[in-house]
Symmetry: C2
Subunit: 372 residues, 2 copies
């Protein structure tokens, strides 16, 4: 991106030089924008400057735009401070919850005609300046959470920021944003965590039967508790609303499972039973929900899956992909899985359904073992 024109004129002041702040700064620097860096830690500012993310603040600074990239629990107070310190600047932030921040900024009597919140769905909200990358936001959704008190013209600076960084602009109200991320991020975090907690006191032999399904469901449960207490606390209402739906469905499933267990005891499980219908409807609902998640390139199509066995040594997976490339196959998705104890990996490949037979034959002809 170096040397390309920017929409923003700058200077842009970035407050908080963690992963997100530093990535924003680096992306703007790559477009030639003057970036001013600020952080509660002078050491972090020093590192970010050495890293090429911008310069330190000066008394005569007149920033066009201020981007607040600090932890969620201090975001509102930093916004209020910045609005007051720079009375001509537009201010935005990148925290993952929007309505409570706007409410707190309003409650503090700050000038909300110059503040509009935003949220890039990219990266983690944790990590030092050294984890920053200029192209972190490329192609990622970035929500601007509008409100009635900021003019279209003023808010345009935030749109410019998003487009300069190559992200995909999404407009929502703060409430729409918060209920959307409660559904797609915050409730899934809780659900994953609750499943993972069940493993804490489980026998070793049980945990050793873990497969890809359990790994998928519990992957995000390894996220940072300190950060997530802030996020869940800030979006408590919207997250609870999604989770109450989960709890109500779970109670129905538990009732159905109790009925099924009783029927089994009575050895009468062969006839029609309401529990069977409840489970079937719940599971079908899950199918329908997954089908709504957009796939690659925003399309909703399904890909054909192919699992290829790959010896666990350097170069083998590269050889597989080189040979697929030679055959003109473009992978739609790829995933490598290792069984515990195995010296063989399973490469799960997604291809266009109409190419599956050709790809399978070509791989088999080259001696690859297809695992199913």
């Amino acid at each position: 991106m170096t040397g390309s024109e920017s929409r923003l004129t700058g200077p842009v002041r970035v407050v908080g030089v963690g992963l997100l702040g530093t990535s924003i700064a680096l992306g703007l620097r790559a477009r030639g924008v003057d970036v001013i860096l600020s952080d509660a830690s002078p050491t972090n500012v020093r590192i970010a400057i050495d890293y090429g993310a911008g310069r330190s603040a000066g008394d005569a600074d007149e920033p066009q735009l201020i981007v607040v990239c600090v932890p969620p629990d201090v975001t509102a107070s930093v916004i209020v401070r910045e609005l007051s310190a720079y009375p001509r600047a537009v201010v935005t932030d990148v925290a993952s919850v929007k309505a409570p921040i706007l409410r707190a900024v309003r409650a503090a009597g700050a000038d909300v005609t110059r503040y509009v919140g935003s949220h890039p769905l990219a990266g983690r909200e944790k990590g030092g300046p050294m984890s920053g990358r200029a192209d972190l936001f490329l192609g990622r959704p970035w929500v601007v959470a509008g409100h009635p008190d900021i003019s279209y013209q003023t808010a345009a600076a935030v749109d410019d920021l998003i487009l300069d960084l190559g992200a995909s602009l999404v407009e929502m109200t703060t409430e729409q944003h918060d209920s959307s991320v409660a559904l797609t991020s915050h409730a899934p975090q809780v659900v994953s965590t609750l499943m993972a907690r069940r493993l804490v006191s489980a026998p070793e032999a049980a945990v050793n039967l873990a497969g890809g399904g359990l790994r998928d469901v519990t992957r995000v449960a390894s996220s940072d508790p300190g950060l997530w207490v802030q996020i869940l606390g800030a979006n408590a209402g919207a997250t609870a609303e999604v989770l109450r739906g989960v709890r109500d469905d779970l109670d129905e499933v538990l009732a159905a499972l109790s009925a099924a267990a009783d029927a089994q005891e009575d050895d009468a499980a062969t006839g029609a039973a309401p529990w069977r219908r409840t489970l079937a409807e719940t599971l079908s609902g899950g199918n329908a929900g997954v089908a709504r998640i957009p796939g690659k390139h925003g399309q909703d199509r399904r890909y054909a899956q192919l699992v290829v066995m790959v010896d666990d040594r350097p170069g083998e997976l590269a050889r597989l992909l080189t040979e697929l490339g030679e055959d003109g196959v473009n992978l739609e998705d790829l995933r490598l899985e290792h069984s515990p104890g195995a010296q063989i990996g399973l490469a799960e490949i997604a291809v266009l359904p109409e190419t599956l037979d050709t790809v399978t034959s070509a791989l088999a002809a080259r001696g690859w073992r297809i695992a199913g």
Copy 2:
């Protein structure tokens, strides 16, 4: 594996030629074992024979071992029938629930001194003969669910089957097995389904914010409802026990979120609050649970993650992996993710932590963009 010696002497009768039955048959044929195929569908038997999985049954058959690979809801009755039809054969099955099947076989008055259930943790329980693969079980755990009425010597035929197919033998009681898979497979299926169901009536704009976390949590929710009604129904008691733990924790989280939402309204969220402690403990418990899932090669170590941007065209990923191979890097794990709308993929690479800096520098030197 062709031509290698087998532990089993055969013949082995496989009842049900879906993915699992056909894969078992193909694996045994590759070791030279005489395999007899049976299925409720003569067409499926014909296909499996054409596929090289074995031969059709004859009146003089004296199978050493019978492997029942039919859907869970008919498994017990087929076992009973086979025990009676072949009074010298050892019988096993591959259904994913074990205690109710043993109970039903006993209740039918069948000869359980020749029956022991088993469960390979591989593949899906669905799919026709054409999806069968001789090496489906290589390196996968395969549980033998023992009981007091079968002698060690008789059960050895099932051990031989497992070892002949290259799987990893795990011994458990039927109850241990069922509670283990309730934890590692059946409860995660329900949890994933319940989260996915929340998406059914969600606004399009919300679903479009879906990221990798939601995709992971809901992936298994796309499983076949018909099969899962059978599995959950058969393992209802053990699955409900795990899910009651989830429900109790969920109620605690909901109470904490309500308290957090109230505190926010009161603008008093800055002090110490019990809800914050509840959320922190829950999230930390999730961390601890995930840490117990064995990783690659059965070890419990953590890998360092690296995300590399890969242009979405044939050969690019292969070039990345070839260059990693040239640098002597062995990937511990690999995953390719596409952002909706983006023409760029993100290859998530896991490497040994001590090699992270070297790998990152080497990739950057070759011009690869590291995304975080």
